[in-house]
């Protein structure tokens, strides 16, 4: 791409966000509204709200625990979901047996289980991780089953005729072939997981981003509440970007095939 083209592309990326931010800054500047404080004020209290206090800063005492719970739950759900999905997807009988049951579990809106798990597991980290596992598990599991089921029969024959079986077959054939669907499941699960992380903290917790933001709202610390919304938003955006980077790497071959087919007609 030429320098001009690159500059143009960069301008397109920043233009609208810059305009929107500037508009927010300017229109809110003289704001007398209690709920919509000037952006200047929000940005001003952001550092002291989240980063001040060294080891006691909210970034350490609230954001990190939230993230740890999210990643633990998400990771557990990924391991269990992909593992069970491999098993169920490779056996038509097993799949027919459990699929309706899984559909019922998947259909339960995960937030509904928050009070349930509070009743069962208390209000500690265990409950929050369980909530996240429960919410993230089904999209990962069901998408993995779909992906495993759709393994190309010619590739499967190729593996058999070259004596590739067992764990090697799972690694070289099944997991890779199902990876587009697995990534779809993981992507859906990530956004559900973030929602559940926040809700479980809003519902019952003594720390975490969700807890903190609701505390600000209840104490009418409005500018601080706005910083909480910004931090939560940034967290969501960052996680989505990290996920996209991983996905691009894992699915490079898949995108390659798709664009090869598109240009090939």
């Amino acid at each position: 791409m030429s320098l001009g083209g690159r500059l143009r592309r960069a301008a397109e990326l920043v233009a609208l966000p810059a305009v929107l931010l500037a508009a927010w800054w300017v229109t809110s500047d003289g704001s007398e509204s209690f709920y919509f404080p000037p952006l200047r004020e929000v940005v001003g209290v952001l550092p002291e709200t989240w980063f001040a206090g060294g080891a006691d800063a909210r970034i350490v005492s609230d954001v990190l625990p939230s993230l740890a719970r999210l990643l633990t739950g998400y990771g557990l759900a990924a391991v269990v979901g992909v593992g069970a999905g491999l098993l169920i997807g490779s056996s038509p009988t097993l799949r027919a047996l459990v699929e309706p049951v899984l559909e019922v579990f998947r259909a339960v809106p995960p937030p509904a289980t928050v009070p349930l798990l509070v009743a069962v597991a208390g209000i500690d980290d265990r409950m929050k991780v369980l909530v996240i596992v429960f919410g993230c598990l089904w999209p990962i599991l069901l998408n993995t089953v779909e992906g495993v089921r759709a393994v190309d029969p010619v590739l499967a024959d190729t593996c058999r005729s070259y004596g590739i079986r067992g764990p090697g077959r799972v690694r070289s054939l099944v997991l890779r072939s199902a990876s587009p669907q697995i990534m779809t499941g993981l992507r859906q699960a990530l956004s559900v997981g973030i929602i559940l992380m926040v809700i479980s903290e809003m519902f019952a917790a003594s720390n975490g981003i969700g807890f903190t933001v609701v505390q600000f709202q209840r104490t009418f610390a409005v500018p601080q509440m706005w910083t909480g919304i910004i931090v939560l938003g940034l967290l969501g955006v960052t996680l989505a970007w990290v996920f996209r980077a991983v996905e691009t790497r894992v699915l490079r071959w898949y995108e390659g095939i798709r664009s090869a087919h598109r240009s090939g007609g």
């Binding site: 010619v154 590739l155 190729t158 005729s161 070259y162 004596g163 070289s172 890779r176 898949y254």
Partner: protein, 262 residues
């Protein structure tokens, strides 16, 4: 090397049964290059899957190197018709060729040597790091052939491998198969529906009937060992053999349509 005796395959579903293969008997000696030709829909792919141990026969027996086949035999490599789907799209060309060797437990150095040699053999030394879908159809089929070669098989099965490439590429690939066979002497069974291809490539041609399939004829190809797309195809003997196979297949098809009409 490869023995097929009384092979029969019947597909059964709830409301009907289809007899795909009725009675197939033939053999391929060590180091031979045999072409199996038959009309469309005569169950060539079924037969090949039975030979490759990918499909259990209803009756009869297949044995490779004296051992009855009950699953994919270890010394056999298969090149499938649909090249686009038999290569792993998430692996590079070199990784595709290397994969079976890894599972065979070959050391790293030897794997590298075999992969390099096989890619050089099929004329793809320059693209080890490309992905299959970045290559043309003919080149993809070369990768599949290289994978089979690197596996150092005792028997190579090829299922209409050139059915989906254009005429020029096809001629190149046919010559590649002849050259490789000449040099390695690997026992090769080449399945095709193309009569010209069967006669041009084979040292022997086994002609199949229409479904339910039996072996219609088994004739040696007494053409010079050195083959050439122009000269060989212009030989009177080539035309004779070709006409004979063509006649066999025509009469088989006519017999089949008579049987259908009755």
């Amino acid at each position: 090397m490869l023995e097929v005796r009384g092979l029969r395959k019947v597909y059964t579903s709830r409301d009907r049964t289809v007899e795909a293969l009725r009675d197939i008997t033939f053999s391929v000696a060590a180091g031979e290059l045999v072409c199996l030709v038959g009309p469309s829909g005569c169950g060539k792919t079924t037969l090949l899957k039975c030979l490759a141990g990918l499909l259990g026969p209803t009756g009869g027996e297949v044995s490779v190197e004296g051992r009855p086949v009950s699953g994919p035999p270890p010394g056999m490599a298969v090149v499938f018709q649909v090249y686009g789907r038999s290569l792993f799209p998430w692996m590079t060309v070199a990784q595709n060729v290397e994969l079976p060797l890894r599972h065979k437990g070959r050391g790293r150095a030897e794997r590298r040597r075999l992969v390099t040699a096989a890619l050089a053999d099929v004329g793809l030394s320059h693209t080890p790091d490309a992905y299959p879908w970045q290559l043309s159809g003919g080149m993809q089929q070369r990768v599949a052939i290289a994978r089979a070669l690197a596996y150092e098989p005792h028997v190579m099965l090829m299922d209409e491998p050139f059915a989906a490439v254009d005429a020029q590429t096809r001629a190149d690939l046919e010559d590649l198969i002849r050259t490789l066979w000449d040099r390695t002497g690997v026992t090769t069974l080449f399945v095709t529906h193309d009569i010209d291809e069967a006669v041009y490539l084979g040292e022997r041609v086994v002609v199949l009937s229409s479904s339910p399939t039996v072996v219609q004829d088994d004739l040696p190809v007494d053409l010079p060992r050195e083959r050439d797309q122009l000269d060989t195809r212009a030989l009177p003997r080539f035309t004779e053999l070709r006409s004979r196979v063509y006649g066999e297949i025509r009469s088989a098809q006519r017999a089949a349509s008579r049987a259908d009409g009755a």
